[in-house]
């Protein structure tokens, strides 16, 4: 187990180095000259000389790999640069916006678990029955619906037609419900389909026949034996979905005017605020990588057989 985790950590470090290189490349393929862009923001009518001075001062005249190393050194120190838009340190902006996003995402995650588990078990139990057909229809719609549209529908129905919620409601728990549901419904739909298929494919396995031969009831088999064996792919998918939701919050936060990191990123893109774009991408990627690692370790704890298959002992 420790060796498996250690190997995973070595892999993680390689991936993280790659992530920093890639996000550095993302910010450098821009056709905008960063020195000139900065000069135009700070000085009214910059002369060529001033731009060149700035270039030297900010290190844009250095070779690319040295620029990368400098950037990386600053990143490790926690200095991700100054936002061109708000003039605050980027890391300060992000640390202020991230909690708002995390609160939606964590509530959405709870919704997903609360919806997915019972519905997919019931669908698998009543395969090809009325309930199963209805759920298949609903989940098809759920995976095909654009989530920004879903958000607007929620607003129109639950905030305008039937005013249960406020249209702009940042601050209290009630305001979290609509955005988190909007984020959760498409993902819950795809998770239901996946879990249902996994449960059904486990139905024919030998351990199920054995359990049935021991006289254990069908419901008991599904809830205890099959569900436990269907968990590993779901754990991976659930953890990945948290990452997707943090990214997908860009759209949902825009619909609900929610001051989170996704909306911050979109605003930065429209204003071409490169340090902020860079830092947001880096933070989200690191969260995503850590979640994947967490999923691997959790899977190991649930099902130690994975260790044998990958030769981790």
């Amino acid at each position: 187990m420790t060796r498996y985790i250690r190997n995973k950590f070595i892999g993680l470090i390689i991936v993280l180095i790659g992530v920093t290189i890639l996000s550095f490349i993302f910010s450098n393929i821009s056709s905008v000259d960063p020195a000139e862009a900065f000069a135009r923001r700070t000085i009214l009518n910059p002369t060529t000389e001033q731009v060149e001075n700035l270039r030297e001062e900010m290190g844009f005249n250095l070779p690319v790999h040295i620029q990368y190393l400098n950037w990386l050194r600053n990143c490790i120190k926690g200095d991700l640069g100054i936002s061109l838009l708000t003039k605050n340190p980027v890391i300060y902006d992000i640390s202020k916006k991230l909690p708002a996003t995390l609160s939606i995402v964590s509530l959405a995650f709870l919704w997903i678990i609360a919806i997915t588990l019972p519905v997919s078990i019931l669908s698998a139990l009543s395969k090809d029955n009325f309930f199963d057909h209805i759920m298949r229809m609903i989940t098809i719609i759920g995976i095909s619906i654009p989530n920004f549209w879903l958000g607007f529908l929620m607003l129109v129905v639950f905030a305008i037609a039937i005013p249960i919620f406020d249209v702009v409601a940042y601050g209290d728990f009630k305001g979290l419900i609509l955005p988190s549901l909007t984020l959760a419904i498409p993902i819950a739909s795809s998770s239901i389909r996946l879990l249902r298929a996994t449960i059904l494919s486990n139905m024919n396995k030998d351990f199920v026949i054995y359990a049935r031969a021991r006289g254990i009831s069908r419901n008991n088999i599904i809830c205890k034996h099959i569900l436990k064996n269907s968990m590993p792919p779901m754990v991976t998918v659930f953890c990945q979905n948290i990452g997707y939701m943090i990214a997908g919050s860009a759209i949902v936060e825009n619909v609900f005017s929610w001051p989170g990191i996704g909306r911050h990123l979109v605003d930065a893109i429209i204003a071409r605020d490169l340090p902020t774009i860079n830092a947001c991408v880096l933070v989200i990627a690191i969260i995503f990588v850590l979640l994947n690692l967490f999923a691997d370790v959790l899977n190991c704890a649930i099902n130690p057989k994975i260790l044998q298959e990958t030769g981790g002992f």
Binding site: G11, I14, V15, L16, G18, V19, I21, L22, S23, F26, S27, N28, I29, S30, S31, I140, I141, I143, S144, I145, P146, N147, F148, W149, F152, L153, L155, V156, I160, A197, L200, S201, G243, Y244, I246, A247, G248, A250, I251, N254, V255, L265, V266, A268, I269, I270, R272, L274, I277, N278, C280, V281, I284, A285, F288, V289, N292
Partner: protein, 272 residues
Amino acid sequence: MLKKIYKNKQAMVGLIMIFIVLFIAVFAPIIAINDPEEINPMNKFVKTSPHYPLGADQLGRCVFSRLVYGARYSLGISIPTLFILALISISIGTISAYLGGRFDDIFSIISDIFMAFPPLIVVLSLVGALGQGIRNIVAAVVFSMWVWFAKIVRSFVLMEKNKEYIIASKIAGCSDYKIIMSHIIPNILPSLIVCFSTGIAGLMLMISGFSFLGLGIEAGAAEWGSMLSSGRAYLYSHPSLIVYPGICILFTAAGFNLFGEALRDIISPKEV
């Protein structure tokens, strides 16, 4: 195979929905009653009438005609994107799985790095760096998604590669190129079609999401996502401006999803 599709109700419903959208996209100039870009301030927010079947928007443009032309944008962007994606991911995935060894290791490391970014974030940051425009959106989507598809292709090829008929054809002296082109690819093609036909719905949703955010397609274009985005200012007074484009996106994506899922059931019946 075709017979099975014909018999499967879900596949037929999906296929009909896809054909309806394709038909509308191809014959848009005939179906549309008005010019989708024609601005007519006199007719601002007019109600449904024979001349404006679904009313007009905030600039007096015919909503129905704009929706009809929107089908062109939606399919016209996502289908070419899918073809580029398929070409890149099939070639890289197949080569990496078939050659194995060091090449495969390098591919694994690169794919791990790319997979550390949620696709949406890659596209957002690339559009941020490259600037807007349809071509940039397509490039960004391809750049962010290829690795996910290549990984799937690779797993298919790995499963196929060790089957006995491949070993037999190697012994018979087939060249690697011939084995890949005339044995492996035709055999994994059905699974690939399933994978890409469900993928196209996701692509469409993603691209319309970007135009909703105001990234990619220029504002005011008759694209479903940007129609939704410009309609949001009239959420209270004219919710129908938001409802119609959303239904169009939902209809098209559901068509592709239904068809793809049914195809999967037909190809691998034991899974469901």
